[in-house]
Point group: C2
Chain length 428, copies 2
Amino acid sequence: MTIPSAIEQSETSTKPSAETSFAERLDRLASVAVNVGLGLAPGQELVMTASTDAIPLARRITEQAYRAGASLVTTFYTDEEATLARFRYAPEESFERAPGWLFNGIAEAFRGGSARLAIAGADPALLANEDPQKVARANVANSKAYRPALEYITRHEINWTIVAAATPAWARRVFPNEPENIAVTKLWDAIFATTRIDVPDPVSNWREHDAQLRRRAALLNERRFATLHFRGPGTDLRVGLADDHLWMGGGTKAHNGLDCIPNMPTEEVFTTPHKDRVEGYVTSTKPLSYQGTLIENIAVRFEGGAITEARATQGETVLRRMIETDAGARRLGEVALVPNSSPIARSGLLFLNTLFDENAASHIALGQAYSTCIRGGDTLDSAQLAAKGANESLIHVDWMIGSGSIDLDGLHVDGTAEPLMRSGEWVG
Amino acid sequence: MTIPSAIEQSETSTKPSAETSFAERLDRLASVAVNVGLGLAPGQELVMTASTDAIPLARRITEQAYRAGASLVTTFYTDEEATLARFRYAPEESFERAPGWLFNGIAEAFRGGSARLAIAGADPALLANEDPQKVARANVANSKAYRPALEYITRHEINWTIVAAATPAWARRVFPNEPENIAVTKLWDAIFATTRIDVPDPVSNWREHDAQLRRRAALLNERRFATLHFRGPGTDLRVGLADDHLWMGGGTKAHNGLDCIPNMPTEEVFTTPHKDRVEGYVTSTKPLSYQGTLIENIAVRFEGGAITEARATQGETVLRRMIETDAGARRLGEVALVPNSSPIARSGLLFLNTLFDENAASHIALGQAYSTCIRGGDTLDSAQLAAKGANESLIHVDWMIGSGSIDLDGLHVDGTAEPLMRSGEWVG
């Protein structure tokens, strides 16, 4: 069976839309988010989170959700100025405090069958100038308090999705040389283009795109490659795959029976590498934004799964500190394949937001593996997961290794090779 | 002991403040709300609610709360457009739905010691054109679901306060003939003036004002009048007071030990009338905005506590329907005294918001009595409360009977009279 290549998809999806007003595009994004991304069922409640700068999109989504039969939409707005006020004025001893009572309420909503939609759009460097100790303490406290609610998300108990809105703070980081209003317009244009909104029928376009990603993952699962072999400028890397690895891509059927696409955009198929079976060298193809620092031109060598040499033309110290976080931080936890023709890659932008940047190019992640990318992984303990090659770490940092100059082969156990990508595009 | 009259207070508090910028006035309002209204204790959490149109004030309050030692401020923003979208697009069968999971979370926060601040500023006629059946069903569902949290408020378990922000929708209703930006500026000016912000030291001014209201209530409690006698144009009304009635005014000590002033502004002292001991006739001195209808020039006669004649030059049908709601709807549940020099009265505005309008003039309320205005009332059942004269009804509708032409005497059981107000102002 021939799978239509993503480049054809992409060419239809970037059709200019001079006649389509901003309001119409916003409405289309809202409709796609509710009807395809979330797959909201009639009668379902919806819990939404958004920045106060994303009110126009949140309103469109609210209307679309009610039109789709939502029984109640509850939106929690966060105001980044209030977050900053906390770091600047709250008592030193208060940074272990988190609104557990609120997260417990949200977990109760999920238990009651609510869906969940997040509008992304945070300032990527909001807390860059705040005390890192306070930031870390607040993050840990929030993560702990949020865990009961988050488990409904990570276990896919309920249908959920993330879409983005162009906020002024984010737009200023992406387009630092533009006036704010131009930056916001440009970022909206980029969001509409990469989220496949500027096409005649975004809903059916998304359904087709989702089906393609699922078919791509199914095909890779069928082939059961032992190893992926990346070759290109500065790169000759063999990434062994975990035993019983599972490729995933596109949508997910949540345990409540509803189909959702958790990330919009999404262009990747991804799986779990074997933590001890990565050999060779690789060079990053895009800058990595890590904790407020840009790390550029990463070049590392893997032996027996672990990084043995690490260099970067900028941010090398931060890179070295990152891979020394713990024993698993120098081994891979994810490998993801994205064609060079993905709308995000074609935008040429660094979005400084993983929702977009991880869909710009094939990438690897140092650190923690996803148990959902191991067959039956949800039922295995960490020793069993490790035995299959799944890595464990406190970090999970994606960085880009794909480009138009990369060839990729799938290698079988007997060493025979099948071409998967040529010059960054899917073969067949 | 001579109690300083409110008119002196008022004259110092309406000092023009041409040099004080809007930002400074907003900050003063925030400081007064946190430090006097809420009486926030260091280490206390704060749960705030606000319209998305009140973000600038919410930010100032957030900063002031953290400066005062708040451990965490969590703000819930409501967007009136989202509320409208629900009434327009949500399924017919969904209007019994309420976010009980959220209210349970908020109740958990109150149980954990959180304070509560509400920023008022809703469009007074937001739902005027929506289906009244849906509005009623949603209100009932919300009230039921919110009850566990609301009990912490009505029982004064925690410290709480309400302040107002000028939102465009509200400002347009108060100043329908002005362009929106002028209307908003005028409403802010009115809020700052009536909330006693335009004075050199609003915090100490508020503490003094609070002390005056408490002294006024204490003095009235000491006098133990049997009856209040209002006289003026179209009014000769004797309002018998409930047995063991308690006058209240100004701040409250919550059961968590913290002093708060639940309403800002507040100008009234109030108590519970005896439901069977109201005699005479009374004419309203300001229009009553009831469920989207303006009722003007209400003129009613009471015999044995109940209204026996009711007229109005406008909205008489609505008035009649209101007093026929139930048996208690034609009897009094509250009487409140406000001098004619109150900053709200002096503004000359109808705010269409009870937080302000009930502080513009002495008023009476038809319907439900407050058990807190009966000595030991919190521990009495409804039969015991009724025996003391406290009225019971589904409604509680305040309307203004005070003006600069009203004289008020307090009558003792033996019929001796003491002048309390002359031409609308306190005597002594």
